[in-house]
């Protein structure tokens, strides 16, 4: 039973109008939001067809909130399922709902397709490659002198950079509701030289034509078109306003301009709209169009009732002391440009009241521990590995995570954890479930593409018995039979024997149970082979039906099947090898799987006690562990916009350390808002933006720890990185406080 704290009770007492809430980490904002939504549904003021609309950031949060709400509101089992007076959506989900109901208003057909991340990337790369072929000389304008003839840079790095730069230009243009035609007109009409914008514009046009040809829209379009639909038909807007008389928005600090516009329209001038978020946890600003200032400005609006939720029962007092210290340091940031961006601001985190059901954990001696030593990246990993090796056996029931700034560094750590035999769980790009399912399906397709190879046969046998691998006897039997199958020279003698040639006759001899077992496996493989000619979705469903049994896995197979069908429709020439390669991308975690894989109830650290969870700082948001290692806290991953800092957005092969993404955004602004543009200025401004965001990321990392926090840093690839400035400041302050 949810027992609200006073600050939470104030929010639950909301009776309508506009409300803004600034909530610190661990303050129970999602629980409060769920309780509020449940109260509104239960109050009974909803007419048939009306719903409380809850908008949140990611799919896992949608499911988490929806499941909690459904539980709160569980009624009689006699009721039809599927409609309980609320709707929980991500912004993309909401935009999809809005557009799907009136696609014509957005110029879309009924069966319009949302092109997924990977596909959109491919279309973009196609557009970039086409443009590069026609404009090979442009590279010379941007590459550093020593890279002008560098083949790797010209063939790989430059095309990839242009893809990112054009992608940024396109996303921003779409976020500002600017279409390609309109921008082309503006470019024609302006007098300034905006060469990057000019290049990106050509790519934009080609990208748009690629999307149109495929009958699809990308994720940015979906949002833009939803807004267009709402603006173009006042009656439809009014109908939706009636449908959603209450709008609750979670994680509002990551709201983009379009999200705010859409929700503002849906709420209407007199509507009921509550926005809850923490501007200190806005960590998507530098690479998306999100901006915490939208929430900050909202909190200041005259007709908005603003509240803080400053109390949190999550962490020990010493952790909060450190987090609050970071806020203080940020308010005094040595770089005025960063300070102006208000990276971190009060409210400070306060512990929960003494009688609170979620009492703060006690401090642990020696923690937080901010490791002062300068280490190479390898040494840093070894240090963390040694520490985990000591800690894990003594804390089998506790949770622990290693948080890293990037996926790539996570992968290296995972390799070492595996080598050291420490139990671990990855939570990097795609979920484990999606990877396991896609991995098994991938091997199955590999086998079907090469049914005459015994190596694939033995591998698929292992996949078939995947659920038994935990049993020692089964492991032995799998190993032995896998070996026999691998040595089988004529796979057809097993699968499709000619009369008198059945391999099982020789191999099994009088062992009836072995024969039965291999006969069962043979039957399964034959069924798959017969299905190999079916469209890819049907083939995957057939295989999945034999391999997977839990609800979640079966559902995931279904989603993968739909995804692959879509891939097949776009690539008429695709055959088993191409499908296998697509699935391999998902299985290897290189491709985000946007369907069901992330539609589970989210990653729950409590399910992984005694196991090292390896994840990125971004993915750790919203989660908490007893012990947290925050690695790589150096001046590269957490720059402070000081002289000598380096920035990953300033590519090493680009002249004058230019950040081309920042430059193109500024050129776009110059084009559309008549702003002045001078090369290099936007690069410098982006440093302050990034420094501010990385401070918030550090804040997020620190506040993931319940009891113990360890921060380490390394000297980077060239050995020239220092300890991140805020970390050093906190460490020194702690040392001063601890000094006798």
């Amino acid at each position: 039973m949810f027992r609200p704290r006073p600050a939470q009770a104030r929010i639950l007492a909301w009776r309508g109008g506009k409300m803004g809430v600034s909530a610190v980490p661990g303050s129970g904002k999602t629980a409060t939001l769920v309780a509020l939504a449940a109260r509104l549904v239960r109050a009974g003021g909803l007419a048939p067809g009306q719903e409380v609309l809850v908008v949140t950031l990611v799919n896992s949060a949608v499911n988490n909130v929806a499941a909690r709400l459904a539980q709160e509101l569980q009624d009689s089992s006699d009721q039809l399922p599927g409609m309980v007076g609320f709707r929980v959506r991500t912004l993309h989900g909401l935009a999809n709902d809005v557009v799907k109901e009136r696609p014509g208003l957005a110029g879309l057909a009924e069966d319009f397709r949302v092109i997924d991340e990977r596909e959109a990337r491919d279309i973009m790369q196609e557009a970039v490659d086409g443009w590069l072929r026609g404009n090979p000389e442009v590279a010379g304008n941007w590459l550093g002198e020593s890279f002008q003839q560098n083949r790797k840079v010209l063939q790989q790095d430059w095309p990839h950079l242009m893809r990112d730069v054009a992608g940024r230009y396109i996303r921003q243009a779409k976020d500002e509701e600017l279409d390609a035609d309109h921008l082309r007109e503006l470019l024609r009409g302006q007098g300034m030289s905006l060469p990057l914008a000019d290049s990106c514009q050509a790519i934009f046009e080609s990208y748009e034509s690629g999307l149109r040809y495929r009958g699809g829209v990308d994720f940015s379009d979906l949002i833009r078109l939803a807004l267009r639909v709402l603006k173009s038909d006042a009656d439809y807007l009014a109908r939706l306003q009636r449908r959603w008389p209450w709008i609750l928005e979670d994680e509002a600090q990551d709201s983009s301009m379009l999200q705010e516009r859409i929700l503002r329209l849906l709420a209407g001038p007199q509507g009921n709209w509550a926005r809850v978020g923490d501007p200190n946890q806005a960590i998507n600003e530098s690479y998306t169009t999100a901006n915490p200032n939208f929430l900050r400005d909202f909190l200041e609006e005259a007709d908005v009732a603003s509240y803080d939720m400053p109390q949190s029962g999550r962490s020990a007092a010493a952790i909060y002391h450190l987090a609050n210290g970071l806020i203080d340091w940020s308010l005094q940031h040595p770089q005025p440009d960063v300070r102006r961006r208000q990276p971190l601001e009060p409210p400070y985190v306060e512990p929960a009241p003494p009688d609170d059901p979620q009492k703060n954990p006690d401090d642990v001696d020696g923690y937080p521990h901010l490791h002062h030593e300068a280490l190479s990246a390898d040494e840093e990993r070894s240090l963390v590995l040694r520490s985990l090796g000591h800690w894990l056996p003594q804390n089998p029931d506790s949770t622990v995570a290693v948080l890293l700034p990037t996926n790539a560094s996570g992968s290296k750590l995972v390799e070492q954890l595996r080598a050291a035999g420490l139990p671990y769980r990855e939570n990097l790009i795609s979920t484990d479930g999606a990877r396991a399912v896609s991995g098994s399906l991938c091997r199955s397709l590999e086998y079907l593409a090469n049914p005459h190879h015994s190596a694939h046969l033995s591998q698929i046998y292992r996949v078939w018995r995947r659920d038994e691998r935990d049993r020692e006897d089964a492991r032995r039997s799998i190993k032995s039979l896998t070996g026999h199958l691998r040595r089988l020279r004529r796979t057809e003698d097993y699968l499709w024997p000619a009369p008198g040639d059945d391999w099982l006759d020789d191999f099994c001899g009088p062992d009836a149970s072995l024969r039965q077992h291999l006969d069962d496996f043979r039957r399964v493989l034959r069924r798959w082979q017969e299905a190999a000619d079916l469209p890819i979705d049907q083939l995957l469903l057939t295989i999945g039906g034999d391999l997977f049994h839990t609800e979640m896995e079966v559902a995931m197979v279904w989603s993968l099947a739909v995804l692959m069908r879509q891939f097949a429709e776009l690539h008429a020439d695709a055959r088993l090898p191409e499908f296998t390669s697509e699935l391999r991308q998902i299985a290897a975690g290189r491709r985000r799987f946007l369907a069901m894989g992330e539609q589970d109830s989210g990653f729950d650290p409590e399910q992984h006690r005694g196991v090292v969870v390896v994840t990125t700082l971004h993915k750790a948001k919203g989660l908490e562990w007893d012990r947290v290692y925050l690695m790589s806290a150096n001046t590269y991953d957490f720059p402070s916009a000081m002289d000598g800092d380096q920035y990953f957005a300033e590519r090493w092969f680009v002249r004058d350390n230019l950040n081309l993404e920042a430059e193109v955004l500024a050129q776009l602004e110059a084009l559309t808002k008549d702003a002045a543009y001078r090369e290099g200025g936007p690069t410098r401004a982006a440093r302050a933006l990034l420094a501010a965001e990385r401070l918030r990321l550090l804040y997020v990392g620190i506040t993931r720890a319940r009891r113990e926090l360890v921060i380490t840093w390394n000297t980077g690839r060239q050995g020239d990185m220092g300890e991140a400035m805020p970390v050093r400041a906190l460490r020194e302050a702690m040392a001063a406080e601890r000094a006798p």
């Binding site: 599927g82 799907k100 009924e110 173009s232 009656d235 005459h452 057809e492 469903l541 559902a555 008429a572």
Partner: protein, 697 residues
């Protein structure tokens, strides 16, 4: 046959009068109509003087079947047909008289009739380049095939509704209420329609829209043509009048006064084919021309429980008023899963209940239908696979399926590519192995792969003897090697220029259907191949006349492989009449007019239930005869159209259900998204009109 008194009024009495017969689905209208034909024949009417008109050929099948089986003299000779077929017959007969007025460039040459497949191809050929060149349709996101079909659809509507094709764009634009930039797509649609029409006229290509246009403008006003029809058919019966178009209604308006007798059958509350130009309001106006109106109101299909459910749903949707019926418990006629989170669970639940009905309760499989707003291949396949596992027979019909989706077609296309020996046409090795597996009996995928690896070289298949490794030959077996050689030998002697339709039919007849080959004695494959042959033949004939025919075969292969929508072939419907659980889109089932005991409604949360089909370049309401010139299409119109569509489908389904409806609901749809469409909302709202005692499973 036992008939109600009111049915007898239609079927046995008033045989010399013009009768307007009205009633909801399941009240026995068609039964009465068929009986009337029999009585007419018994009374001495020559079968060649009786005409039954239906909106689509499949709707005529029950008539043909019943008349063929009846003992009425000449029952099988009664003509059951559609407006399109009549129009084509008239045009072919009277072409010399009207050709000069049609605008066709070559009035002395015979006309050609491209079907849906060919129209899509021709659209690409005549209009595709222009779309690229002029950068048409920038404001709309739609696949090319759909774009073409919608331009064709606009032309069809202009003909069927009876307004000049030059007005298509202006009408659509005048009703558009969205952003002004987007309205330009209607100009583009107009330009493409005009371009296509001009190209058709230039090449004497009478597509469906031009056919109907000519019927209205040249044939019907021509005394010879009209008189021919009127004199030939003295007894006219029209089934599903509400599903037919204003053009037919106009014709009937002229025709009825001259008939000896007529029966117009009108289904109240239908209009399912509105998106194809159906006009129920216009249809009703013909009642005034009849001598007698009969309304059938006793529901023969629904049980009392289903009738109570129907009433509750009708009340929810604003189609019924008053208190609940005294008899019947609507709730008892409904089942739903207690909990189904994911889409596959819903499918499992469905199949489990079907299996129980069939195996435990002795229900005949053909008394069960599984419907969904759309029946994508994955859903159909998942249902079929699970039904197979449980030993439940099933059948399915998907009218708009691409030819390339059939495995037999894919195998034939691969062999056709091999036979072409053309650069760029060589099939993929996987396709070759797969085609060999399909084509040769007992050929397994491993040996097929070994064969393809060893003998598929430079786009051609080498003889079996080219395998020098005796062990490999042994692995493949000499028996399969011999069949493979027969197949290759046949392919080797085929001249590359052999037209594909001849290639397909010969290859099927001389190889694939022979003993030892994969399609031997497979009736359904035969039908599929027949469709392919028809399609390729029409394509060839047409293209040969259009100009240099060098690339006919290659163009055809490309067209099918790009997934062009197939024509509807009547033989598919005929095959459907086998016994088994029917899996079909809801509309397809409704149009088949066959009540069943049990219905399973799947994907109940889908927004596809009760929402009009959005086609950005066309609009059935705006292009109808009743749309006021210049009026905007508003959100309220959208809502009303959605409500009408939902009521037509949901109530239409219930009227065709005798005993119970199972609701397939899952929290997440097939793409993992939560879905809350209008049907789910209506079902929730309906609960208050049902009896309180719950029996949800």
């Amino acid at each position: 046959m036992y008939l109600l008194v009111k049915q007898q009024q239609v079927a046995r009495d008033n045989l010399d009068r013009k009768v307007f017969l009205e009633g909801l689905a399941g009240t026995g209208k068609t039964t009465a109509g068929i009986e009337r034909v029999k009585q007419l024949l018994h009374a001495g009417a020559p079968p060649t003087r009786v005409l039954v008109l239906v909106p689509q050929r499949a709707t005529g099948l029950p008539w043909q079947e019943a008349l063929r089986r009846s003992r009425a003299p000449g029952g099988a000779e009664v003509r059951v047909t559609t407006l399109g077929s009549l129009a084509r017959e008239l045009l072919e007969l009277f072409w010399p008289l009207i050709a000069a007025d049609t605008g066709c460039a070559r009035p002395l040459a015979p006309p050609r009739f491209p079907g849906l497949e060919l129209s899509q191809y021709l659209m690409r050929r005549f209009v595709g380049d222009e779309i690229e060149r002029r950068d048409y349709f920038r404001g709309v996101t739609i696949s090319r095939n759909r774009l073409y079909t919608q331009i064709v659809d606009n032309l069809n509507k202009s003909a069927l509704v009876g307004f000049p094709p030059e007005e298509i764009g202006a009408r659509l634009k005048a009703a558009w209420r969205g952003s002004s930039e987007q309205a330009f797509i209607y100009d583009d649609a107009q330009a493409c329609a005009s371009l296509f029409r001009a190209a058709c006229l230039k090449h004497n290509l009478i597509d469906f829209s031009l056919l109907i246009d000519i019927l209205r403008k040249q044939l019907w006003p021509l005394e010879n043509a009209r008189g021919y029809l009127i004199r030939r058919y003295r007894h006219v019966l029209v089934d599903n009048l509400e599903e037919d178009t204003p053009t037919l209604h106009d014709l009937l308006g002229d025709w009825l006064p001259h008939c000896d007798s007529a029966l117009l059958i009108y289904d109240s509350e239908a209009g399912l084919r509105r998106f194809l130009g159906a006009d129920p309001a216009q249809a009703r106006s013909l009642q005034a021309l009849c001598d007698l109106s009969v309304t059938l109101d006793r529901r023969r299909a629904m049980s009392e429980d289903v009738a109570a459910l129907h009433f509750a749903m009708a009340k929810t949707l604003g189609r019924a008023e008053g208190p609940l019926p005294k008899h019947g418990n609507g709730r008892a006629a409904l089942r739903w899963p207690a909990r189904a989170r994911w889409h596959p669970q819903m499918i499992d639940w469905t199949v489990q209940h079907i299996a129980r009905l069939v195996h435990k309760e002795g229900v005949a499989a053909q008394e069960i239908v599984v419907v969904a707003p759309f029946m994508p291949d994955a859903l159909r396949f998942a249902l079929q696979a699970r039904l197979d596992e449980r030993g439940v027979p099933h059948r399915s019909h998907r009218p708009s399926r691409a030819l390339r989706d059939e495995p037999e077609v894919r195998a034939l296309l691969t062999f056709a590519r091999l036979a072409q020996h053309a650069p760029g046409l060589a099939p993929d090795r996987f396709d070759v192995a797969s085609a060999l597996t399909t084509a040769i009996e007992a050929m397994d995928p491993i040996r097929a792969r070994l064969l393809a690896d060893a003998l598929y070289r430079d786009g051609g298949l080498l003889p079996f003897e080219n395998i020098t490794d005796a062990r490999l030959q042994q692995r493949i077996t000499f028996q399969l090697g011999e069949r493979y050689d027969r197949l290759c030998g046949w392919l080797a002697q085929v001249p590359p220029e052999l037209p594909l339709d001849l290639f397909f039919s010969s290859f099927f007849g001389e190889v694939m259907s022979q003993p030892g080959f994969g399609l031997h004695r497979r009736e359904s494959s035969g039908a599929t191949v027949a469709n392919l042959v028809d399609s390729a033949r029409s394509f060839r004939r047409l293209l040969t006349e259009l100009g240099p025919a060098a690339s006919v075969n290659q163009d055809y292969l490309r067209m099918v492989e790009e997934g062009v929508l197939a024509n509807q072939y009547l033989r598919d419907w005929e095959l459907d009449r086998s016994e088994g659980v029917l899996l079909a889109p809801a509309h397809t089932y409704l149009m088949s007019n066959r009540p069943v005991d049990y219905q399973f409604w799947l994907n109940v949360g889908s927004s596809g239930w009760g929402r009009r089909v959005y086609q950005p370049l066309t609009h059935p309401w705006v292009l109808s005869r009743h749309w006021e010139a210049g009026r905007k299409w508003l959100d309220a119109d959208e809502e009303a159209a959605g409500a009408e569509s939902l009521a037509n489908v949901a109530l239409g389904l219930l009227r065709r259900c005798r005993k119970r409806v199972y609701l397939g609901i899952s929290e997440y749809g097939e793409r993992g998204m939560e879905e809350r469409g209008p049907l789910l909302l209506a079902l929730h709202n309906m609960q208050r009109y049902l009896m309180p005692e719950g029996d949800g499973v």
